[in-house]
Assembly symmetry: C2
Homo-oligomer: 474 residues x 2
Amino acid sequence: MTVAASIAALDRIRTIVGLNGLLTAPEDMAPYLSEWRGRFKGNSPAVVRPASTEEVAAVVTICAEAGIPVVPQGGNTSLVGGSIPYEEGREIVLSLSRMNRIRGIDTLNYTMTAEAGVVLKTAQEAAKDKDRLLPMSLGAEGTCQIGGLISTNAGGINVLRYGNMRDLVLGLEVVLADGRVWNGLRSLRKNNTGYDLKHLFIGAEGTLGIVTAAVLKLYPRPRQSETAFIAVPSPAAAIELLARLRAASGDAVAAFELMSRRCLEFALKHVAGTIDPLSEPSPWYVLTELTAGTQSDAFRENVEAALGEAFEAELATDATIAQSETQANQLWFIREAIVEAQKFEGGSIKNDVSVPVSRVAEFIERAEAAVAAACPGIRPTPFGHVGDGNIHFNLSQPEGADTAAYLARWDEICHVVNEVIFDLDGSISAEHGVGRFKKDEMPVIKSPVEFDLLRAMKAALDPKGLLNPGKMLP
Amino acid sequence: MTVAASIAALDRIRTIVGLNGLLTAPEDMAPYLSEWRGRFKGNSPAVVRPASTEEVAAVVTICAEAGIPVVPQGGNTSLVGGSIPYEEGREIVLSLSRMNRIRGIDTLNYTMTAEAGVVLKTAQEAAKDKDRLLPMSLGAEGTCQIGGLISTNAGGINVLRYGNMRDLVLGLEVVLADGRVWNGLRSLRKNNTGYDLKHLFIGAEGTLGIVTAAVLKLYPRPRQSETAFIAVPSPAAAIELLARLRAASGDAVAAFELMSRRCLEFALKHVAGTIDPLSEPSPWYVLTELTAGTQSDAFRENVEAALGEAFEAELATDATIAQSETQANQLWFIREAIVEAQKFEGGSIKNDVSVPVSRVAEFIERAEAAVAAACPGIRPTPFGHVGDGNIHFNLSQPEGADTAAYLARWDEICHVVNEVIFDLDGSISAEHGVGRFKKDEMPVIKSPVEFDLLRAMKAALDPKGLLNPGKMLP
C-alpha cells in the first residue's frame, strides 16, 4: 500500500471514530504498543478506538479494502505478545476499550451480555450486585477485558469448578475479516442448529474475527467458602488428595493450587507480609478452596473429615483451615507472592504447561531431572492450577549465575521441558496462549494434519490474512 | 460414477473390512436404512462396518477417491433422520457400531477414552465401576452410541448440571473427508494452542468428519439424591422456583422438568402404572432432582426449606418428595410415560425448541395462543427440560379430528410456533439437531452472514461434499 493510500484510509477511519477515537501521537500510542513487562514491543501508524460494533465493522471494512492489517487489543495483559503489533509498523491497533457497556443481566436466565471492553472486575461486580457469580478470576482482573479473555480462552483460579472462559460463553458478536458482523449473541443453553461457530473465535487470539460482545453464563453465588493450606509429601500425594477431596466434598473444590517449598521460601524472603502458615517445613504445599452454595456447619466438618482421612493415608502431613476471610486472604496472598518473588532471584525461565491431572507428578519429577541435567544448579519453582493439570513450571537461575547468560538459554531449556510435555501428551501453553511468543512452535507441536486444519480455518475466515497476522500461526 | 467403478470400490472396501464388515443383502441392511419411527427411509449399495480407526480411514479414502458419499451412523436413534441415507441409494452407510472399545478410564484425571460405537449405557456402567459418573443420560441410552451423541451434541436430563455432550468432550479422534486421521485425543483440561477444532466436529452431524473416538469428562458420583414432584401455578412460577432452588441448594439442581396437567392426564389415561402423586389437580407440575456429592440430613432439610419458602411465595401449591429410590423412580416414570402417552391421542406435531430460561413462560403463553388461533381445539402438551429453556412443545390434534388431515398441517403449524421462537431469540432445534428434517429451515433461521460461515466450514473441511450430504445444510 502506498503512503497516500494509507493516509486516505486513516482519514476515512477518523470520520468513523472521531478525533477521540484515533490516536497517532507516539506518546498517546505508547501504552498500546508494548507489553506490560516490556518483552514485546511494536509500532503502528494509529491506535483506533471505536465505541460501537458498527464503528468496529466500519473500521475493519476500510482496513479490508485498503489491505491494512489489524491487531485487536483488549486490556493488553497478555503474556505472549498476542495484542502487540510487530516492529514493522504496518498494522493498526484496534482497541476495544471504549466498548465497555454491560448491555444487560438476565438474573432468571443466569446470563450477562457484555461488550468486549468491559473490565473483568467491573463485570464481576455487576454480577454480584444482582446476587450472581461471574466465576472467571485471575491476577489481571482489574485490567483485562471480556474480549481479551474470550480471545485467549483465559484460565485462572476457578477453572476446576467452572471451566475456562470458553465454558462461560453462550453467545458472541464478532466482526469478521471483511467487516461484516456475525450476530451470534444467543443466550440459549441448548441450540443444535448448525456448527458451533462461537468456539472457533474463542481462543483464536483475534486471528479469525474481532469479538465485540458476548453473552456470559452466571452462577449462584457461593454462600460458604473454606480455604486450607496443606502440607503434602509429594505432587503424587497432592493429586490423590484432590481426587479424594472432590469425591468427599461433592465436587466442591473450586481451586487447588500446588506449590513447592522453594516457591514459599522465595515468597517469605522477598515479599513483605508473607507468612509461613505451618510450623514445620514441607517439600510441597496445596492451597485449596472449597465452596458451597449453602451455609452449613456440615460443610466445614466434611472438609475437616476429608483432611483427617488424608492424614491417615499419609497424603498430608499438616494443614491449617482459615478461620476467617482475613486468614483466607492471607493464604491466597502467599500464592500471589510466589509470582512476585521470583524476580528477586535472578533470571526466571517460564513454562505454562499442562498434562493430564494424573500425570502431574510424573511430569514434575521428569522435568526437574531433565532441566537439572541441562543446567546444573537450576532452581525449579513449580506452582499452579494442578487441579487442571496446569503447572507454571518456572525455573530460577542457579545461585550466582550470570542472568543474561542464563536467560540466553531460554529456548534451549524450554525445549528440554517441552520434550517431557510431548512425551506425556501435554500442552506447552496451557492458559497463556501462543501469540508472538510461541507461534514458531506450532508447526513443531501440531501434527501435519492438525496444522493443515488450523491453516484451513484461517484461510476460510481471513483469506487476506489481515487479522492479527503472525500471531498464533507462523 | 459408473456401476463398474462403484463395484470396484466396494471390492476394495471388502478387502479392508472383511466379509463381516460389509452388508449388501437388503435384509441385512434394513435396520440401517430406516429410522426407528419409520419416518425416514433410504437406500444404499452397502452398509460398511469397520472395526478400527485405520479401517474407517481406509474406507473413507476409497470413497473419497471414488466419489462415493458416506453417511456415518451410530445407534441410529436420531429423531431428525441425520443417520439415514437418501432414497437415491448413492450413499454408503458407515456404521461405527463395531468400534465399541472403551480404550481406558483414568480415575485420577476423571476421564474415559471411548470409541464411537460404545453404547451410552455401557459407558455409564464402566464409569460407575470405577466410582465415577458419566453424566450424559437420555431415553435412548441403551442404544445410542458415543459417536452419535457427540455428532449430535446430545442433551438429555442432566444438561442443567453437567452441560450438553459438547461440554463432556475433552478430546476427539476424527477421520476427515479425505481419509486422513486427526488425532485430537487429548485429555487436558487446559490447552491454548490453536483453534479448538473439536468443537467444529461436535454437533456437526457427521458432515465435517467422522468421529471415531473421544476423551470424555467424568465426575464424582453423587451420594445423595432428592426427587420432588411439585404442583406449580404457572410456567412463570416454575422458572422463579428454579432460580430459588438453584440458589438455596448451592446449584444442586440436576434436573428440572416442567409438564402441563394435560401431559399428566394423557399419561394417567394411557400408560399403565402411572399414578398422580398429588391429591389435587394443578395446571402445571415440576419434576426436579437435586443431587449432592455427600450424604447429609442437611441437604434434604435445605430442599424442604426451599420448598416451604416457595409455598409462602405462592410459587408452588403442593409437593411430594420421594422417600425412597422406588418412589423417585415412580416419579420419573411419569415423565417417561408422557412421551409414550401422546401417540394414543391421535396425531402429534412435535417441536423441540428452546428460549432463554427467563422467557419460557412467555413462549408457552404466546405459542399456545398462536396455535389455538391457527387450529381451534388443538391440544398442546408442553413438557421438557425447562431448566435449559428447552421445551418439547408437542401438539396433539383436536379431539375427533382427522389424524391425516391434522398431520398434513405439520409444517404450517410448526411455522406458527417458530415465529414465536424467532421473536424470542430462541432455537427451533434445541437438542434433536437438524438432519434431513429441518435442513430446509437453515437458510430461513440463519442470518446470511451465519449461513455463509456454515457453508465456509463445510467447504473447508469437506470440499467434495461427500460426508453426510444434504444433512444439516441444504
